[in-house]
């Protein structure tokens, strides 16, 4: 029983990272109907830029700088890869451009930071805290708190500020939002900035728990994508639940079955969700009134 509880606790931290990346997918999908398939690379770049920065300053001072970097990286992806596709009304162009940019980012990172995985110095004590026989790393707590905090901040912005409401209006009906004087092109750029910013933040949150390297984003980005599908691309709650399910299933499978199979249950779950409830566990299926 204690082992299971331990596995669940470890799974939660991993799951929150998935949730945070998946949240980033949702942000751009809501406003533009497009996704950045380079979310994993945005995370990787955030982590590596953070790694370079912590050589010169404290972890806490590095955080806001990485957030700014992430936002700029997102704006770059939108301007270079997505905007031309949206302008020409290309339905699938953005898929190729965001994947291409992801490959370029990965190659650039390999050349700048090398092929090897590097340890990221932990800003918190690395000794686990004992609680009812369960061991929790302080960094794991920071992951959960940080991920929830940024998601909550975005949600509050959307609900309370007129600019946030303009973002929601754009997600609802882009043409009508334009009639309100909202520059919907800017809103889409902003959502990409926010999306890459959350990914970069996820990168520096997870980095002290894992290793940092140019390939770290590939699997995380892919798994977070399945979390977004499982939870529902249009449900904020869904990604948290989906992320936690996937995180916990992975750690428990890794222990009870074999670490070699730890990725299987999540993908089986993805197949099941697609077969039974394609809009996701919490997704609203869109009914178009004619």
């Amino acid at each position: 029983m204690e082992i299971l509880a331990q596995l669940i606790v470890s799974g939660i931290a991993l799951g929150m990272i998935y949730a945070l990346i998946a949240f980033g997918y949702q942000l751009t999908f809501a406003t533009s109907g497009t996704l950045n398939f380079g979310q994993g690379e945005a995370l990787m770049l955030g982590a590596l830029v953070g790694l370079t920065l912590v050589g010169h300053m404290s972890y806490w001072l590095m955080l806001p700088l990485v957030l700014v970097f992430g936002a700029l990286q997102g704006i770059f992806v939108e301007r270079v890869g997505v905007l031309p596709a949206i302008k020409t009304k290309s339905e699938f162009g953005w898929i190729m451009t965001t994947i291409s940019l992801a490959i370029i980012f990965k190659n650039v990172a390999e050349n700048v930071w090398g092929h090897d995985d590097i340890t990221f110095p932990s800003p918190l004590p690395t000794a686990p805290i004992q609680f009812l026989g369960i061991r929790v790393l302080p960094m794991e707590i920071l992951v959960v708190v940080g991920a929830l905090a940024i998601m909550l901040a975005v949600e509050m912005f959307n609900r309370k500020s007129i600019y946030g409401k303009a973002v929601v209006a754009t997600s609802n009906d882009r043409d009508a939002a334009g009639l309100m004087g909202i520059n919907t092109g800017m809103v889409i750029t902003f959502s990409y900035a926010l999306s890459s910013m959350t990914a970069a933040f996820a990168g520096v949150l997870i980095a002290p728990l894992t290793l940092t390297g140019s390939t770290m984003g590939v699997v995380l980005g892919l798994k977070a994508f399945s979390v977004a599908i499982i939870g529902g691309l249009n449900s904020g709650m869904g990604v948290i639940v989906g992320g936690l399910i996937l995180g916990i299933v992975e750690t428990t499978t890794g222990y009870y079955v074999s670490t070699g199979y730890k990725d299987v249950p999540g993908l089986v779950l993805l197949l099941l969700v697609l077969a039974i409830k394609p809009s996701g566990l919490f997704g609203k299926s869109v009914i178009k009134k004619v």
């Binding site: 409401k165 209006a169 009906d173 334009g178 009639l179 309100m180 004087g181």
Partner: protein
């Protein structure tokens, strides 16, 4: 106030509007009538920047707005209550109304008294006040129409475009919509009104244009159009 000169517009290669010229003077209500597919909605969409005209000139308050994106046109003072209402379904009624005042709450348009205007909209549409915190998507068709009109009014517009405000509404609600339009007219709001109920539209309007296959066929003072035999036969006949 609003001037349209030789406006042409197309969907892809299909020309829809041919040399439309019309003007909406300050404080007047002008109506655009015509059968389905004549190009009424397309005219409205070209004016508010939802589609780009292929040629022609549109000016608002003497300033050219031709070809500008819709958000800039809204900031110049033109509000458009679009066909099909297009309310923001997941946002509350109040939030929908506040978004109507977006340029006033951010930049580009004089702020004025937004909370006061919100209260006045609720006075004009008491049903919206009852449902202030409800999601707009849960409103009935009539209530959504009121919301679309109220949202457009929240801009404090120089010109208000109303596209088919009575579409799909029960007869009693149609009456209510027209009552509100004449009330707005009484307040001196400049309007361009597109309507399928030509008789009612000509009743409230000062001036009318008849659109046929993308061209203006007849225009004149509303009172005169009402009695024009050709207009009567084509648009005011069997429908009423």
């Amino acid at each position: 106030m609003l001037q349209i000169e030789n406006l042409n517009a197309a969907y892809g290669k299909v020309e829809v509007l041919h040399n439309i010229s019309l003007s909406v003077p300050k404080g007047k209500v002008v109506t655009l009538i015509g059968s389905n597919g004549a190009g009424k909605t397309t005219t409205m969409r070209a004016v508010s920047g939802m589609i780009q005209p292929t040629s022609g000139k549109i000016s608002l308050n003497g300033k050219a707005i031709t070809g500008l994106p819709s958000n800039k046109i809204a900031r110049s003072g033109l509000a458009h209550s679009p066909e099909g209402r297009r309310v923001f379904a997941t946002l509350s009624v109040t939030d929908n109304l506040l978004l109507g005042a977006f340029p006033r709450l951010t930049f580009g348009r004089e702020k004025g008294d937004v909370p006061g205007d919100l209260a006045r909209i609720f006075e004009l549409f008491p049903r919206l006040k009852e449902r202030a915190e409800q999601q707009a998507g849960t409103l009935s068709g009539g209530e959504q129409q009121m919301l679309a009109m109220g949202r457009a009014l929240m801009l404090n517009p120089d010109v208000l475009l109303l596209d088919e405000p009575s579409m799909g509404l029960a007869p009693l609600l149609v009456k209510e919509v027209f009552r509100i339009i004449s009330e707005l007219k009484g307040r001196g709001i400049t309007m361009l009104l597109v309507e399928q109920f030509a008789a009612a539209a000509l009743e409230v309007a000062d001036y009318g244009y008849v659109l046929e296959n993308g061209r203006i066929s007849v225009h004149g003072p509303a009172g005169q159009l009402k009695n024009d035999p050709a207009v009567k036969a084509a648009y005011l006949g069997a429908a009423h």
